[in-house]
Symmetry: C2
Subunit: 442 residues, 2 copies
């Protein structure tokens, strides 16, 4: 038996705003960042759990403070108890009667919950000697149901119904796992279409991506309709009529505006419109879905918990469910949403990119295919070619598909030198940037 | 012209958990707290803006950190610019492209926004020499519309429609103001029915409240149905068949459970069921509303922004709209919700109690009556007799009605000695509690 003795949290920021990687209609200047958690035990194996939530610069320090508020709920716990009932651990974290007030289960405190929960899962998987996806797909149906907090979702998915689904899919698990090991998991690329890129860069990136085997693309839209039409035409010209092109407005529009704008881009055959409006607006998404059909509506990177996803599904508001590994409260809540999406027949295409999200969601999509949905139809993981070099067990893409990860853990661990160099505000990279800014101001 | 030169933030906590004041089915041990903001300028008048958001203990330090993240958006601003366009100020605060990620407009960062926005409004009202309600009700319809961010709510309430409403109501403003000055604003009391109180205490408090003129009461429910039935019977016996009794479950139930439980209490004639389930569950509230009619559904103290209220109204999910002065992003967003509630014909009965919420919402209900809804029908403000002694411009109740506040400002300012004594963790009260705990542990 070992005990959790340490929980370290690091504010890490990468100065990505300097070259407009990741720019979109709502986020012109994002510095990909994270509140990064390391959980340590007194075990002799020296294994650490690493996890994080994704942020985009300012405000990361607030999430770091929230991780600090969760620390007393983790320190001193026996890992046997934790790993024996990860569902109870999750409910303890989100159920603290005072901390609950500053959410509940949303915003900063929930981002912090995600970082802590993901770190403990990483530790659990490492201790088990398995990649996270394997640890979970090898669980029994009862064990997986036990991970989920059904509070507030039992009207849409009673635990018994989830159990039936998992049991019904169990016989094909080995076959699906073998398929993923052989072929990997389908992906699409967002790297061609950031809003800050000029036309020539988009054209060049499309050609490079096609040469690498990509057939699914995403373009940022929503700042200016004429620009969007020109850029969509460029992408469609380059990728041809059969390749998939999704578009992403990053919450830019009100409901009526969304419907009009998307229909004005319909001639370019967008596969989905992502985040057309406020992530809180379930009924708004449903109205947009009706107004832009047959173009699909997708959302999720800002959908803050299972209760919101439940309603998006109940209201027929989304045709694509974009779970976020670090905005939902970590692995447990993602599984709740995977189960609901499967129940409603809606494919899950995880949000990724940022820093480290690709590393995480490859596990979640494998769990979805092997144990929960049993289908790849209409399913693909976002891929963005940023910042993977900072991770130890880095994502591997082969023929535009994610290669199933094989190392123990949740692929969440950053290289020690990256953690040191990009720590904010005192890492060497940030010292250098401040020196450069100071020099140019002289 | 003056400039904002300082923004101080204080973590203040009152040890209310020691006598179970404020106990309910989800919050057994709340220490009423706040992230308390003081805004200072370089003006010679020495006026300060005081504002806060309400919290219940642990986690207040996280909100304090979030206020710190907002500080650069406030410091250095000219008060002329601020007061000249408070709508633009609000949009700046919630629109920071990096901070937006850790919300958007929800949880910790939005609580911090409320504290800052409310402090600036307090300053504005003090500089104007008027109570907040008067500052706003004396604005033109165009000025009030200019305070509101219509982003994401224009489908339910176009700005032009809001303007029409305000203009149509303008002729009766003086008369309604005179009425409030004479009669005050109706209230109900929650002080009798906290879950931690025993039967005899409830009975005694009911009798005392009746003697003081109260005719509207609220009882906490949701922990145990037999207990609830016994307690509801006691209250109904004491207050008689004609007095109003609301019940409040503080998010305790799932949808089906809520419907069954409330119907099992129907014989005691509850006027509304408050927070039957997750505050995020718009469709769930709508299902509960259909399942418990004619008992009304009320919610709002945890409804995090105008987009959520919009949908609760669109979905016919609530018959009572319980705005919270410090969870919504301050005065501006409250006005957005008041306008929508009026448009949908739903009465606003603000959440109050905690610490300082009664002080704030009396202004908001006055604005609602004088300028926005023009009606008192079915409208009342929650009243809880806790912690008012810490405020300079303290709430006054006369004949179970709120007396219209008359001092300049937003009635938000706490006494300096209270701020010193209850500052966490270093105030004298907290030092004394720690000493007492240490002594009893010996």
């Amino acid at each position: 038996m070992s005990t959790i003795r340490g929980l370290e949290v690091i504010d890490i920021r990468f100065p990505t705003s300097r070259n407009l990687d990741g720019s979109d209609a709502m986020n012109p200047d994002r510095d990909y960042s994270g509140a990064y958690v390391i959980v340590r035990t007194d075990a002799e194996d020296g294994l650490e759990g690493h996890g994080f939530t994704f942020t985009i610069g300012r405000g990361t320090e607030v999430v770091v403070a929230a991780v600090g508020a969760l620390r007393p709920l983790v320190i001193g716990r026996s890992t046997d108890d934790l790993f024996g009932d990860m569902g109870a651990f999750w409910r303890d974290l989100v159920g603290d009667s005072q901390l609950r007030w500053i959410g509940p289960e949303k915003g900063v405190i929930h981002l912090a919950t995600a970082a802590v929960v993901n770190a403990v899962w990483d530790l659990y998987a490492k201790v088990s000697g398995k990649p996270l996806w394997q640890l979970i797909t090898e669980m029994t149906a009862e064990e997986i149901v036990g991970l989920v907090d059904f509070r507030y979702i039992s009207d849409a998915l009673p635990p018994g119904r989830a159990l039936e689904r998992l049991q019904a899919l169990a016989p094909g698990r080995a076959e699906r796992e073998a398929e993923l090991r052989r072929d990997g998991y389908p992906a699409y690329t967002t790297s061609v279409g950031w809003l800050g890129y000029d036309d020539e860069k988009i054209r060049r990136l499309c050609r490079e991506a096609l040469a690498e085997g990509w057939t699914r693309f995403k373009l940022k839209v929503g700042a200016d309709l004429d620009d969007d039409r020109r850029r969509a035409r460029i992408v469609r010209e380059e990728i041809g009529p059969d390749a998939m092109m999704a578009i992403d407005a990053n919450q830019r529009w009100d409901v009526d505006e969304a419907i009009a704008w998307v229909n004005a881009l319909a001639e370019f055959d967008p596969y989905w419109i992502e985040e057309p409006t406020s992530p809180d607006d379930i009924l708004g998404h449903a109205a947009v879905a009706r107004g832009v059909a047959p173009i699909r509506v997708a959302t999720g990177e800002h959908v803050h918990n299972r209760v919101m996803f439940k309603q998006l599904l109940q209201a027929d508001a989304i045709s694509i469910c974009q779970i976020d590994a670090a905005r939902l409260g970590g692995v447990n809540e993602v599984i709740a949403v995977l189960l609901m999406a499967a129940e409603f027949g809606v494919p899950v295409c995880p949000h990724a990119g940022g820093v480290g999200l690709c590393e995480l969601v490859q596990h979640l999509s494998a769990i979805d295919y092997i144990s929960i949905s049993g289908s790849l139809e209409g399913r693909m993981i976002e891929y963005v070619d940023h910042l993977h070099e900072h991770f130890i067990d880095t994502v591997e893409i082969r023929d535009a598909r994610y290669v199933l990860p094989g190392e123990p853990g949740y692929s969440a661990e950053m290289r020690p030198d990256s953690l040191t160099r990009f720590r904010f505000p005192d890492g060497a990279e940030w010292e250098a940037i401040r020196a450069e800014v100071a020099a140019s101001a002289r």
